[in-house]
Structures are given as structure tokens and as C-alpha cells.
Symmetry: C2
Subunit: 698 residues, 2 copies
């Protein structure tokens, strides 16, 4: 893939399919490109000599060389146009034309071909079915939309063209500026990860925002975003969050929906700040594009209005922020400068007769406090407070400190001009104090992203070849599952299991039992019998002397229950003393977008009724494995709550990491269910296992 | 208390403390009252002959009779002014003057006196420390704020004057109209419940909204609001939701904070729709003031933009609403009228080339569907869609159906004029589809309020006198607690307990044990020993023959552990077979604002670690008692999840109701802790008990 930056900063752009026909998309694009763009615009259309005053060329070969081609020809002609583009040596293409995978199987076939051509010629293709792209740096509007972005630091991608037009009209009204805007269309070639990488390297992009309905390659997206978010925040609306929404999204774009749970953890692991609505997206973007990242989560609130001050404090309580505790010095400073009736504790209430100067003094004192990471200025209109003056002193005061400040100048008309003053200095103003706090909270969440620990997944010494051989057993099975007879799969990856094995005659069973201390547990081993207990296929506390009989009995029961079941034998397992241990569940489900999704929870009602589980996309490092345990509400039980003996959580953390390595090493593993993984004071041991394998992937 | 409606519709208003001094509050009020108010305005000030052209009177006695007096005299003169008002026969007063309970003990004393005078003369007093009141019906602005409300159907009360000025400037900008506006001030006499009652009876008030920092008399507020919300919705921001916010609120108004948990359930039981922010308050109010209440929670979404359609669907998924499933007829109708590429399933995507007529047709078909309760129209700007036309056809189409419609015409400038068209027809427009849905959701939540079951608390046949005698035992105790020796308190109210009693010699213990079937449980009974098990003060499965010895042993242990402990004897109790039973916890805590707050949860980790409990303000009826069980996440365990024997939940429901009756009958009971209440297949029995009593209240 060539340099993507040329897509946004071309010296010349061809419009293939340009026309002057009223209402045609090929005209709208040419018109938009002819306004404000400093580079050359080259219409291509075999049926015209000129279009809208530009000289028109019959094909790309005969046209001047360009950096970017925008394609608006009818669907059947798109593929040959792309070949022509490839032959001419143009690298960057935006395909506006619709009628591809969004329209059914014929379109999907055409889109596959489009992708092949792009690969053959190494083309950067946006679309098809795209509204186009904009780049305010070069004044380029290569879209057919009715709105043009103003210049700013937000780079914006959207899987919905309508979302872009809807937002731009509003954003222009609010004077919110953009750097690049991309309508992703069907994402046949270039997708979200490519733009994340591109904008991550672009020093002028202050924040990357997006509206997405799916993410094509989750693991790749996580990797790229992790790097980018070290320097550049990413805020995304990923729709289809709810079941209803996911259904609507899949009928809109035809995307195969990954699970919302995978998206939730995947985006979090990627360092993405997630927004739930258009408003949140821009509330966050405004804070993230102009403000420095705070050094702490502690917020000072300065207000002339008690009630709104309390509301602001509530919003802080709802967020990841906390109210700052002022130093003695700050409290003294505030007491000296403020009237007696004022409240010098946070939220600082400088009371209703405050003018702008009193705001300035209080804000200055608060921002100077080392315990204060950021500040919110909240004001209600009064006779003595000029909002214009307030805006100016807020800017001045902020400039003396390296700390983020947001404002909630409440009001309508009277807040408009002051708001512009603030905006020019990078200070976002919000009507609602709760929204001001949520903007600051996005900044604090981004701070956490920057500070997150980034331990690489551990690589344990495992027996990968042995694991492969065990997985290959499924090839000789009727189903594609492995069960307790394959506990050695876990052993190969160092996840402890009880002593024992599957044997296929009574005598071996007896011998094995004798080699194991104490009584044994015996279970029927059959890939076809899922609920062993239900058919009496499990015997506990079997003394050595009864093992041979028990073997015969178990086999008989299984045969009786399901005559055609494939019976592998009987598992003879050490009898564990589970007193003082906690049953946990450790599993994995492969998500279509994000790949291996690890799941952890406490056994029994905790998973089944309370749905108290945590998930992460593998591979994960130690910190994330530990977080998986801590995220579970019942985790205090593992730590020894209510007089229990504390479990060895380090052993659980290691088991999670080892499973992470196993499922990362073998994409053929579709599902793992270790239920239970028994966490005791000394170790964590897998007692039962079901593994589902895609035998074709092996 | 006199007629409150006269407060809002006076024929004449006196301003006591009126002045023409620049910047004085007494001038600002007179100026505001002189604009737009049709009635007579009477300035009172002994030092002036005229004020701002009005004839001024030295005192109320010599002034013409008025319906309402607004008091802006200095704090020391307020009380004598109130007496004068009382003597003159004026019933309605707004005290603007500050310097009362918000300023410390001297002010609090003055406020108590103010309240006494108000009682003596039966005055309706708003304030003190109030911004004033407005009534658009008579054009009266009796505030000193810079803004004046425009006419509409929202009646608005606020415990913060600044909140009113902050909101009005913005609301005027949005053309949101009000009926009455009240700055509650210190709520010395008139408080939220009075205005809820007043506006509940006012046919012109479409919705009651408020900003509150506390609620004075929770039980009374619940009663009044329950009645009012049958006809008029109430939306409240109650700030101090979070710990930080509650702290800030108490330093702002000096209010004693009730627990957020009590507010949450109390407001819910009152039928109040709660908003968390200014924006939500008005998003909800706009929907609740203009739209009919929907007949079902099913929503149709009609849009020209796929992406925003998906976002809208997500917002529906987040709400109490659900996406409507269209009838076959509707699907056919939509298929016939829409282009082939459109999506006729909900969300209906009428695609990007839709004009207003196509919107009208699709909306009309959707609203005609009996499965559709309400609709959201979501639009992105396109070249072929005129927003003005869209607004008009939405109004026309809506007028043909008795169903609520909201719009999210996304955009800035271009949405402004159409928004006014919609507003005039009572259709709220929101920029963000998520906010449009949340407005509709407020309406659906209000629908639930109207439909809630209103079963009166049951009155069981109980032995109230016996209960009183038992409670009075605390008077002879060192502490104010009752324990297991007082299980008969529960018996008096019909809550089952195991067979047994507290006895105070070994022989009685043996006799009692013999009268009980099987072994017994024995527990030391002492108000001074809280954790009986920890000191070996509990013996289980004691055979009759060992009871006497066990008695001696328990007494010895207690004496040894705490020589000065008051020892009441030993409880000898029937040994219950708890297999197949579930331990629950049933309790009560008296909240300063809302009174008896019942609590229910499952025992052990569920309450202690998972904090899985539900609460209600007593008294409650059967439905609410049942809801308390259902609200607990672990409740499926009671219903027989995971192969358990189902508990008799009816018995638990009855125990909750009986406790509700007990704590309602005896306000002296401060706390009750029935832990456990064992719920078995047949009954629910209280096994242990701690009751804390306010002996002075008995």
C-alpha cells in the first residue's frame, strides 16, 4: 500500500464520470472540488469536451497525471475504470459508485473483484459506496454532500455517509473544525485501521473520531490503536451496541455482527474512548482536541451558583474524575480573596454577586493548587457578571497554568459570543454542567489510556507439538469436540490438572487407581455424551477395590443410554479435597471480528444467574489477566472474603495467560470451556474440559 | 393554608422594600413587575413618596389591599413585616430577603420565628432567600432575575435561584414556555409538596418540573405525587445523587441529606420521572408537555439515513422502549410505496433520495400499524429533502394519528426554522437521535407510572399492644436494642419464627427442649453481645439430655467473655432443617427524609459482597413487596433455579408486608435486622433479630 497521506494531500484530482448534468453526483463532486481546492481538477468523461468550464478528457491515459482519482461511473464500469487507474500508475482512489456488497450477491461478487484489482495494482481504495473524502488542509472537498468542513484538528471517519452530512451542518454551526473526513463506504480495501494508522502519524490530527458499524479485523485494529493512542486520542461511536441496534446494523451494512461484549472489551483494550451518541462523540472530541491531558483526576469546580455547583459535583461523582481536596494554602488564599458568605471548599461557590474578576481570582488560586488536575467553571447569568469578560479572564487564567479548563456558561443568547472567545482558545463551553464534566472525563479516560501498563503477553514454555497432536484427535471423531480424555491438552500448556487419565479397560483403571493416592473419581469419556452426571456417568470417592466394577458399570450405563455413542473409556482421576477451594470458569469463544475472547467467572450461580463474568481479547499480559479476575464482582470470594481461605490468585492469573497463549497459538480452537477451574489456596486446577475445534483449520 | 392559586394569579402585588436605588433588588423586582403584569403594583417604603413612577406607601396598612406581598426589606425587619402582612389580612407572601437558615444559627433562629408567624397568621410564604416567582398566565414576573419566562405549559420549581436564571436564558432561546416558576428558597413554609399539589390541580400545567436538593417530608411528598402523577407528569432533578454531590448540597443549603437510595426509591414510588442533568430535565419536559401518552412501548423509526437509524435503534435498546414489529399489512404497504433498496423493517430506511412526501407516506403507514405506539423521525440533510417540508408533513401526518411523534432532524442552521414549525405543533425536535429517543422514553416511563398498580398496603390482624409492651422492654435496658429474646415482637405481627423462647435457668431450658420435637439450637441472649457465634455463644443440634449442661456452659462463656454484660438467659429454639431453604435478609432503616426504608436481599455474599439488595419506603402493598424480591438479581434462586426446591415466595412477600406494617405502626423503631429470614418450600421464618428503638418516641 502506498503513502496514504497523498490521499488527503493530492496536487491533482481526476473525477472519472464527471458531468454537468443537474442533480448528478458526478456534477456535485466536481462543483465541490472546484471550490477552495488549490490543486488541479481533471474531469474525465468520454462524452464531454468540457465540464463546468474544465477541460474534460476521454480517459485517464489521455488526461494529465493525477495523484487521486474519484470514481463516479456506473457500477458495471467501475472495475474496468479501476484497471485503467492501475495501469496509469495512480495510487489513490475514492469509489463513490454504489451497487456493491450492500446490494446482494451480484454486488458482492463485483466487490470481491474490485478488491482483487486493488491488490494487483496496489491501490489505496476508499469505498465503494462512499460519500467521498475531505481534507481541509488543502481545501479539498471530494464528496457529493451539501456541506463542507471548516478547518480544525479533528480527523473523522464514518461508515455512514448520512452521518457525515448530518454532523457537518451542525458542526459548522458550532464552528467545530476538521482536518480529514472520510466516508468509509463498504471498506472493500481501506478500512478503519488504515485511517487510524494514517492519522496517528499525522501531527496535525489532534483527535481521531469515527462512526463505525463494525470493525473488520479486530486484532489488527487493537494493535494499531494501542500504538496510536499513546499520542493521539481516538473516540468512536460503534453502533449496534444493543441487540436491536446490532440487528439494524447488520441489515444496514450486511456486516456479520461480532458480539457487543467483544467490541466493548476490544475497544477498551485498543485504548479507544467510546461514545454512545453523536452528542457524546463531539462533547468528547471538543475536549480532546484542544486541551492538555491532566496530571490527575482531581477537579476543581468554581461557580457563582450553588445549585449548578452541586449538579456539577454530581456529574463528577458519576465520572472517573474526583473532586479535588484543596491544600491549606489554597483554602487560605480563597478565604482571603472571597466574601465571607462564599464557600471555599470544592465546589468553590463565589456567590451570586461575583463579577468576572472574582472568578479569575478563584480560578487562579484553584489551578495553582498541586492537588488540582483540571477545572470546571460554571456560571449562571447575573446582573453583575458580563459573560464576555468571564470568557476573557478564563482564557487568561488558563494560560498561566498547564491544566485543562472547561466551562459551563449556562445561558442561551448571552453565552454565544463568549463561547466563540473560549473556542478560539481551545476551551470548550457546554450549556449543561454535566456535559462539561463528561468532556473533562473523556480527557481523564484518555489519560488512563496513556498511562495503562503495556506488559507484553508472556510466552510460557509449552509443548506446542503435543497440543497439536491432541487437537488432531478430533479428525477421527464424529463431532469436533474434545472432552475430559484430552485434559493432556491443558497439561501441554502447563495448566495444572488432577492426576489421572482415560483408560479403556477395567484392569488399567484399577492399576491407575492404585497408583493414585486415596479414592478416585471416575467419569465416562465420550465425545457424544455431554451431561455425564445426568446419566450416572460420574462416580466419586471410589476405593481402589471397586474401580474395576465401577468401570464396567459406567460403560454399561453409557451404552444403555446411547447405544451408538463413541465411548473412549473411563477417566480415572485423583479425588481432590475441594473444601476451601472456589470453583471458577475459564473459557474462550472465538469472535468473528476480534478473535479469541477469553472469559472468566466464578462457578455456579455467579455465571449462570448473576452473569458475573469478565472478558478480554487474547493475547493478554499479566496485568490484563489480573484485571479479568478483579472485574468479576464476586472476586472478593477468591481473595478470602467471609472467612474463606484465600485462593492462590497468581495461579489463576497464570492459567488465564496460558489459555491465552494456547488459543492464540491455535486459531483452529473455536471454543474452550474449563468448568470448573478449581482455585485453591495452593494452585488452580482444571477439572473438566470441553474444546471445540475447526478441524479444517488444523 | 389559603388558596395557593392566588399566589400565582393575584390582582394586585405589594413590593415591601421597593426602591429606585440602582442595583437594588427592591428596584429590580419592581421593574420586573411593572412589565407585562396586568394587575396593580403597590410599592411600600416609608422613606419614599413614589418609586419608579408608582405611588409609594409608608406601610401596608395605609396601602391599598393586595393579594400578594413580595418582601425585600433587610433581614432584621422581615419578621415585623410578616406580622404586618398577617394583620393586614394578606395571605400570600414571597420573602426575597436572604440571611436566614442558610447563614448559621442566628439566621436559623430567625427562620424558626418566621415559620411561627406564618403559622399564626396562616400565611403562604415562599422563601426566604428566594429569587421570586413568575406566572406567565397573568404576565407576572415577581423575581429580581434578568430573565422572564415565555408562556407555556411547564410549571417549574427550583431550590436554586441561579438554576432558574441559568435555565431561562437558554429556554427563551429554545422557545420553551412556562406556566409558573417558583424559586423555593429556604422552603420555610411552602415546599415542593405544596407546589406539586397546586400544579396537580391546575389544568393549564402540562408537566411539573423541578430542581431539588432535598425533600422535606418524604412520605407526604410520595402521597401527594402519587395522586398528581395520575394526570400530570413530574420530572425532577434531585441533586446530591453522588456522595460528593450530597456533601456539596448539604454545604449549599444546610439540608440534612437523606440517603440517595431512599431518594431513588422514594421518587420512583412517588411516580416521579427522574432526570440527571439540566439537559435531560428539558428533553423530558419537552416530550411530556406536548405529546399524548403512548398506548404501548413499541416505537417505529423512519429515517433517510442508515447510520443514524442504527444509532436510534441502539438508543431504543438502551431505553424502556422497544422496536415495534410491523404487521404484514404494514410491511406490504411500505414495500409498495418505497423503492426496492429501502428497508421496510423497523428501523424503516427510506434511503438517501427520499423527499418529504416519501417520509410522510412511510410515517403514515407506520403510525397506522396497531403494533406501533410512537414514532421517531430521523433525518440527515440531503439535496432532495427540504427540512421545512419535512416538518410540515410530520405535523400533518401526526395529526392523523393519536400517537406521539418526536423528530431528530439532524443539522444546524437548516434545522432551525423547521424546528419552530414542529414546536408550535407540540413536536419536540432533538439534534441527537439518542436524545429524541430519551424524550420518548420519558413519556413511556410516565405511561408506566400511570399504569402502575396501586394496591393499598394490606392491614393484617396483629397484636399491636403486645408489640408495644415488647418494645418498651428497651426502657429497662442499658442499650436501646432488642435481640433474639424478643422474637415475640415478630410473632405479635404474624411473622413466623421457630418454636422456642428465652429461658433463664437450666431446668426451664431442659423442659422447653423436651417440649420441642428433636434436637434444639441454643444461643446466649444478651443485648450486649452482638456476635454470638464468635464467642462460642451458639450451640446447634443439642439433644434434650445435654440441654441443661449446655445452658450452664453458654452462660459461663458469656460471663467469661464480658463480665459486665447484661445476660437475659439462653434462647432454646427448634432445630430447623435448612436443606432446600434459602437465607434471606429483611430489614428496615429509618431515613431522615423518607422514613422507614425496607431492605430485602439474599443472605451471605449476596448482600455483603454483591450488594444485591432492594429497598422501598414503607408502607407498601403486595405488588411492591413482590417487586422487592424480583428486583434482587439473585431472586431466581428463590424461584428454584439450578435444581433447587422453589421457596414459598408468597410467604416472603407476606413477611415483608407485615414488617412494613410493624415499622409504620411504630415510628420509634429505628432499625430492624431479620437475618436470616429463612425461605423454605413451605414458609418463611425469622431466625434471628436485632431491633433498635428510639425509647423517647415510645
Amino acid at each position: 500500500m502506498g503513502r496514504l497521506s497523498e490521499l488527503f494531500e493530492p496536487d491533482s484530482v481526476a473525477v472519472v464520470g464527471a458531468t454537468d448534468r443537474e442533480g448528478a453526483v458526478g456534477r456535485a463532486i466536481l462543483e465541490n472540488l472546484s471550490t477552495g481546492f488549490a490543486g488541479e481538477v481533471v474531469p474525465v468523461n468520454p462524452n464531454r469536451e468540457t465540464v463546468l468550464g474544465h477541460e474534460c478528457y476521454p480517459d485517464l491515459e489521455r488526461a494529465p497525471a493525477v495523484d487521486l482519482a474519484v470514481v463516479v461511473v456506473p457500477p458495471p464500469v467501475v472495475l474496468e475504470t479501476l484497471r485503467e487507474i492501475g495501469e496509469t500508475g495512480i495510487e489513490n482512489v475514492v469509489v463513490i459508485t454504489a451497487g456493491f456488497s450492500e446490494t446482494g450477491s451480484e454486488g458482492a461478487r463485483r466487490e470481491r473483484e474490485l478488491r482483487e484489482i486493488a491488490e494487483e495494482y496496489d491501490l489505496n481504495v476508499v469505498g465503494p459506496n462512499s460519500l467521498g473524502i475531505m481534507s481541509t488542509a488543502v481545501g479539498m472537498n471530494a464528496t457529493f454532500g451539501p456541506e463542507r468542513a471548516i478547518e480544525g484538528g479533528i480527523s473523522f471517519m464514518s461508515q455512514s455517509g448520512a452521518f457525515i452530512t448530518a454532523v457537518l451542518d451542525w458542526a459548522n454551526d458550532q464552528e467545530i473544525g476538521f482536518r480529514d473526513v472520510v466516508s468509509l463506504g463498504n471498506k472493500s480495501v481501506l478500512a478503519e485501521t488504515d485511517f487510524v494508522r494514517q492519522w496517528g502519524e499525522d501531527p496535525e490530527t489532534e483527535v481521531i473520531i469515527g462512526y463505525l458499524e463494525d470493525i473488520d479485523e479486530g486484532a489488527e485494529f487493537i494493535r494499531a490503536s494501542r500504538d496510536v493512542t499513546d499520542d493521539t486520542p481516538i473516540v468512536l461511536v460503534k453502533s449496534g451496541r444493543t441487540d436491536a441496534g446490532a440487528h439494524a446494523a447488520s441489515s444496514h451494512t450486511g456486516a456479520i455482527a461480532g458480539s457487543e461484549r467483544a467490541y466493548e472489551t476490544g475497544l477498551e483494550q485498543a485504548g479507544v474512548v467510546r461514545a454512545r451518541s453523536v452528542q457524546e462523540l463531539f462533547d468528547y472530541a471538543r475536549a480532546l482536541s484542544g486541551l492538555p491531558v491532566p496530571e490527575s483526576e482531581s477537579v476543581a469546580v468554581v461557580t457563582n451558583a450553588g445549585g449548578p455547583g452541586v449538579l456539577t459535583t454530581d456529574a463528577v461523582g458519576d465520572s472517573t474524575l474526583e473532586m479535588a481536596s484543596f491544600t491549606e494554602e489554597t483554602l487560605e488564599g480563597l478565604s482571603e480573596s472571597l466574601p465571607e458568605e462564599a464557600n471555599v471548599y470544592n465546589p468553590v461557590d463565589i456567590i451570586g454577586d461575583a463579577d468576572a474578576d472574582r472568578f479569575a481570582e478563584a480560578l487562579d488560586t484553584a489551578l495553582a493548587d498541586p492537588n488540582v488536575g483540571s477545572a470546571v467553571v460554571v456560571s449562571a447569568p447575573t446582573a453583575v457578571l458580563a459573560y464576555e469578560d468571564l470568557a476573557e479572564v478564563v482564557v487568561e487564567t488558563r494560560d498561566r497554568h498547564e491544566k485543562p479548563v472547561v466551562t459551563a456558561m449556562m445561558g442561551g443568547q448571552r453565552a454565544r459570543a463568549p463561547e466563540a472567545t473560549l473556542r478560539e482558545s481551545g476551551i470548550p463551553n457546554y450549556f449543561d454542567p454535566a456535559r462539561a464534566v463528561s468532556g473533562l472525563d473523556a480527557l481523564a479516560r484518555y489519560r488512563d489510556v496513556r498511562r495503562r501498563s503495556r506488559d507484553d503477553p508472556a510466552t510460557f514454555d509449552v509443548d506446542r507439538e503435543r497440543a497439536r497432536r491432541i487437537l488432531e484427535r478430533t479428525k477421527s471423531r464424529s463431532g469436533n469436540q474434545l472432552g475430559i480424555e484430552s485434559m493432556d491438552l491443558l497439561e501441554a500448556y502447563g495448566i495444572p490438572t488432577p492426576e489421572g487419565a482415560v483408560v479403556d479397560d477395567p484392569e488399567s483403571a484399577r492399576e491407575l487407581a492404585e497408583s493414585i493416592d486415596g479414592d478416585v473419581v471416575m467419569k465416562i469419556a465420550s465425545p457424544d455424551i455431554a451431561h455425564k452426571s445426568d446419566i450416572g456417568g460420574v462416580k466419586v470417592d471410589v476405593p481402589d477395590a471397586e474401580v474395576a466394577d465401577a468401570y464396567e458399570d459406567l460403560i454399561a450405563r453409557a451404552r444403555n443410554y446411547q447405544p451408538d455413542a463413541q465411548i473412549l473409556g473411563v477417566q480415572v482421576q485423583e479425588s481432590l479435597d475441594l473444601d476451601g477451594s472456589t470453583e471458577t470458569i475459564l473459557g474462550m469463544n472465538r469472535d468473528p471480528q476480534f478473535g479469541p475472547l477469553l472469559l472468566f467467572g466464578l462457578g455456579g450461580i455467579f455465571v449462570e444467574i448473576l452473569e458475573d463474568t469478565s472478558v478480554r481479547v487474547a493475547p493478554i499480559g499479566e496485568t490484563e489477566a489480573r484485571d479479568m479476575i478483579d472485574d468479576v464482582k464476586a472476586s472478593p470470594l477468591l481473595a478470602g472474603a467471609r472467612g474463606r481461605e484465600p485462593a492462590n490468585t497468581d495461579a489463576v492469573v497464570e492459567a488465564i495467560q496460558r489459555l491465552s497463549q494456547l488459543v492464540t497459538d491455535f486459531p483452529a480452537i473455536l471454543e474452550v470451556d474449563i468448568n470448573p477451574l478449581v482455585a485453591g489456596p495452593d494452585d488452580a486446577r482444571a477439572i473438566d474440559l470441553v474444546v471445540t475445534v475447526d478441524t479444517e483449520e488444523l
